[in-house]
Symmetry: C2
DNA sequence: CCTAACATCGTATGGTGTACGGAATTGTTG
DNA sequence: CAACAATTCCGTACACCATACGATGTTAGG
């Protein structure tokens, strides 16, 4: 499904990512392009938003733009490159305000921005993150994230690691939040329905009594998640731990 | 690609997951099965280990077992269910020793076990985690993880959240470690080659000077990662922050 | 005007998951 | 023992997918 053949078309994609900064060299000879790269990316995003990343196909993007399937390839080298463009595009949807307040507020802002983005475009959770394309918006955001913790007493490596922990947490937390929200796009059942069907079976299977703590904790967690909005509280919890841990490091 | 139609074949899959505990009701009438569910799962795992999850197809699994493509479906309802069985299988590869030492040692053990597992089977990183199948080994591990932090002063909900943060971190850290290790299975280039090709282009693109901190930090992080084994140190760093944060909570 | 460059797109290739139905095999029953 | 029913195996088929290739038409530069 994914591959990268012998002559890496890599600068081509970088030029696409940075097209607004650098202006891609539209050869003047042939017929004009009927749409634009931005429209292609936009159509792909709206398709992924509504039907999920698995349902995003080159054919559907083309159809939505009134183009033949193969015409897409004159705008974008392939599907995985298109996804790269989509990622950078949505990373540019919000701007990056000046950081204010203490470390806690700043780290919270960083994490929450990502959390929100994952909720706005849940297909980001299904993206293959191997060797991410580095676009202007993603870069801008990384800079902004680093700004948030610059000068608080961390060295360069520690800054990178701190942002990694924070963003990694935001992603995994958003994932569980979105899954718990049910109404999965790519499976016909909500989480509630799933549990209603499977709880009795599972109860029988796990009846051996080998899982005393799981039963206790699982019950508490299950009830909390049923009463909705708890994934937000779970986010706050993990975030607080990470911030506390960072402050502990600074107090060394 | 993924779907779950009207009559949920869900108890079927649960019975497969728990087949060693409950013994699946092999109807006695027809011809004997030529292989076993365990062999199917094993073949699928070894295929995914060597060629990646994207290259795992029902046809290839069948071929490796000397079966026709469609015969697989008499063992397993479909591809996503097979992946569920693979996940539980590899979760059972290691046993779960008694917890010893303080909270720090215990949480470290939990995180490191996952980190190791992701490194042993990197296809786990590419798995769709929407509504995970609950098998015996995954359940056993969850119980073991909870044991690690039982009785230290966290309530049930806090325990669940703590394990979530810890396991989420282990995954995201393992992901960046495995990616940094280069030699990606599904792309023809190592990370080093990629950077060698693209670094000059990126340097030109980002030359605007809009990314002062990224440049500084990126350089430090880049050098560290080049000198290998730093992903392990990055893991230690994040882990320490999370543990410190948890201890701070307990000191409230 | 002519030609080189370019966009568009029909067709084709090789892949995927899996529905369907037939053939072969086996244990159970009359 | 024969008939039946259950079950496995698997060939074929369908609907998709990404994308390689080449034909066709469009445009601007020389």
């Amino acid at each position: 499904m994914d591959d990268a053949q012998s002559p890496p078309p890599v600068d081509r994609t970088l030029e696409l990512l940075w097209r607004h900064q650098v202006g891609h060299p539209q050869g003047s000879r042939g017929p004009k392009q009927r749409v634009s790269v931005d429209e292609v990316v936009g159509a792909a995003i709206s398709l992924a938003d509504s039907e999920g990343l698995a349902a995003l196909s080159m054919r559907k993007v083309a159809q939505r733009l009134g183009l033949g399937a193969m015409s897409i390839y004159t705008y974008v080298p392939g599907r995985s490159e298109l996804v790269g463009l989509m990622i950078d595009e949505v990373a540019g949807e919000v701007d990056h305000p000046e950081h204010a307040g203490g470390l806690r507020d700043r780290m919270t802002a960083v994490a929450r921005q990502l959390w929100d983005e994952y909720h706005r475009h849940s297909w980001l959770l299904h993206v293959q993150k191997a060797r991410p394309w580095i676009g202007p918006n993603v870069s801008k955001r990384y800079e902004w994230q680093l700004e948030a913790i610059d000068g608080v007493g961390l060295d360069d490596l520690e800054m990178d690691h701190t942002i990694a922990v924070l963003t990694g947490f935001a992603e995994s937390s958003a994932r569980s939040s979105i899954e718990a929200a049910g109404a999965r796009v790519d499976s016909g059942m909500t989480d509630l329905q799933w549990w209603e069907i499977n709880a009795p079976v599972l109860g029988r299977l796990m009846a051996g009594g080998d899982y005393p703590i799981s039963n206790r904790v699982g019950q508490a967690a299950g009830q909390a998640y049923e009463s909705m909005g708890d994934s937000a509280r779970s986010f706050e919890f993990g975030l607080a731990r990470i911030i506390d841990g960072t402050e502990a490091l600074l107090r060394r």
